[in-house]
Subunit: 418 residues, 2 copies
């Protein structure tokens, strides 16, 4: 069998599994997930061993320390992976929910019902826990999934998928509910991304380069999870203590994630009182500040920001700071340089709060809270498969509901169109 | 300016217009639409004249009678185009609706608010009324629009857009809310489909060839409006009079549209009583029947159906007919050969009605009603921009709501993440 035939056959099986899964009840799906928990635990040693091999090979290849860290499944991370499946069991099943239903003048009763999307392809990089996290969310929402992880985690991903297949079969589910691309050949991804006949949605998880490549090649719809260039804007009337607390949290609490602040915007009227206070705290936390000329006047330890800095997702202890004339300049800056992810204003003005909420064109717009809350769990949606920076289908945190589509169900009594 | 620069400049202006439009109130947008009604009426002669030139040139080029008919703006069609704008004025504005809102344990108040998508590109074929229909739906939902019609309707479309721009400016709106690609060069479309920086969504309206080409080239998300291979399945327990009425309506009332029936499936137990009744009526209406072997035994005037017939969207007085063993075979046939558009069962069985609704994987699934109801107006959504055969973002009839996305608005009181 050629590689192409192999990938097509794998996708065809996934589509058949989807027909099975789309009809499974919540009880059946939960039972299957519980079987997977058991088989994951049974195969713990195997999975950890496969992971060790990946890690050793990664070291030989000279992967960076950060990459090796992301690749490693510690005992704690293994536990958290298994707990993740249990948490998905406890989440409500969105499938079958009738979002609305209405009667037409001719008596037709029309309902909009949530149904699974179909076959979802997940293309991701080094972290092997994505394998199990993505599979559990897809299964619970009635979708079959085709997984293609990074080559450096190949053995780990394969071992996790084998445990999954064993669990699924134990519950009487087709093993092909969770498919794994059994090769590290890059050509496999190119083939996969053309199979719109079998695959309904592609979700790439990883760096900007991966996402761009996938979007360019794919003839299947893609939901992108691009970078988060998040802003906090401090208004002239802000409670400065609150502004310090929120800005510090948004930058420092976990700088390596997409909802961390990358640029701080400050109203010119309070720049000289606010910047020294937040600057001191940030400096003590080891944050490098890249400021506009006015910021540099106030904070002598700031380095000069270049035009590129306003676009930058540092994911690190670096912060761009700009003093602006007013809220209009702040909003314009965010809509121009931001990534439509998460942006916050700190203000005590009712009308400026509403203006900011209305005019900032981002997935999540905050008043007086840290951008770090952009997260499926924090929003109360349960686990998330990612945070969409796209506008179509799903925007912001994507949970189980966002892994469904809908169909119209129409109850008639013989109606015809005149 | 090169063609590329020209298209980019046009898209950039559309994006700026979107920022304006997204902030316009419903009242302001309705006022602008009413100004457009006036300017359309003022420019009636100009539009009809431009259309006559298109029609004459079309005749010279030897366009088919059907194409010339679709191209022609009669007085009646002009009236209906203007009435269409008035109807959109009367529809509720979806922008700003808060779909849901909830409070988190930490006090954060999180809402999901409908907002416009941004800049929408519509690529369509010969019917010039699409120009005005699409513009009014996009404007009302706060989106700016870039229109690219067929070359044979170039003068008509241009004249309609000029009237639109005059009306918009009269209401103090930027004329660039409605942009028109001012050339028939094909390269312009290729350029347009790469401008994901400025354009958020592409909706192609036309034949399968156009849609496939657009999908292949575009780096912008596309919502496809493919063909409708719609089925009616008559169960063994169906009220045969109702089954005749529904099947006849679904095939004959308007055969050239996507929600017309293309294949009739009949349970084997009633084939010999039902097929002669519907067959006679269809024959008298001039319908050619292409049947499976069993159908041919019962209806001697049927011609033999080939494998391709089960995939075919005839859009004509032709019908494929197949006798099936049971509901499972019917559902499998629909999910295999259909186009996930609109499918109906005629039955008196409660459990088979529910089974069909659940297992048929189509945008609109009917019990005891004609597939011809799949339409934004008939569903009570007001006007429609099309009927999506995609599963992402919008499925089935797309009205104003489906031309919006959402953003999360978060009201805090100083919350930070621990």
């Amino acid at each position: 069998m050629s590689l192409k035939e192999e990938i097509i056959s794998l996708a065809r099986q996934a589509k058949e599994a989807y027909y099975f899964l789309s009809q499974a009840s919540s009880e059946e799906k939960n039972k299957a997930l519980q079987e997977v928990v058991k088989s994951m635990e049974r195969r713990r040693e195997e999975i950890l061993k496969a992971n060790q091999q990946d890690v050793e090979e990664g070291r030989k290849k000279g992967l960076s320390k950060a990459l090796i860290d992301r690749l490693t499944i510690t005992e704690k991370r293994f536990e958290s992976m298994v707990r993740g499946i249990r948490e998905v069991v406890s989440l409500p099943d969105p499938v079958g929910e009738v979002i609305k239903m209405w009667r037409r003048p001719n008596g037709l009763l029309i309902g909009k019902m949530r149904v699974p999307i179909g076959v979802i392809g997940i293309i991701y990089e080094s972290r092997p826990n994505v394998t199990s996290d993505a599979a559990s969310l897809c299964l619970k929402s009635g979708n079959s999934v085709i997984l293609r992880g990074g080559s450096e985690a190949f053995r780990s991903n394969q071992a996790i998928v084998e445990a999954w297949k064993e669990g699924l079969e134990g519950a009487g589910f087709p093993a092909s509910c969770v498919q794994f691309v059994p090769t590290v050949e890059r050509e496999a991804v190119n083939i996969l991304l053309q199979l719109h006949e079998f695959i309904d949605l592609i979700i790439p998880r990883g760096g900007e380069g991966l996402i761009r490549k996938v979007t360019e090649i794919s003839t299947i719809p893609v939901i992108k999870h691009y970078k988060g260039v998040c802003h906090v804007y401090v208004e002239e009337d802000a409670d400065l203590e609150m502004a310090v607390r929120i800005s510090f949290n948004a930058k420092v609490q976990r700088p390596g994630v997409c909802n961390a602040m990358e640029t701080l915007l400050v109203h010119e009227k309070i720049a000289s009182s606010f910047l020294p206070r937040i600057g001191e705290k940030l400096k003590n936390a080891g944050v490098e500040i890249r400021g506009c000329p006015r910021t540099k006047e106030i904070l002598p330890y700031a380095v000069e920001a270049k035009e590129e800095d306003w676009y930058e997702e540092y994911l690190d202890l670096i912060l761009a700071v700009k003093v602006v004339k007013n809220i209009d300049e702040a909003i314009k800056h965010i809509n121009t340089y931001g990534s439509q992810h998460s942006d916050a204003i700190v203000t005590s003005s009712y009308s400026r709060a509403l203006k900011f909420l209305r005019e900032v064109d981002s997935a999540c717009v905050y008043v007086n809270a840290s951008t770090r809350f952009t997260d499926g769990g924090e929003f109360g949606m349960g686990a998330e498969i990612g945070i969409s920076t796209d506008k179509l289908h799903a925007r912001g945190p994507m949970g189980l509901e966002e892994l469904t589509t809908y169909k119209f169900i129409i109850f008639g009594e013989g109606q015809i169109r005149e």
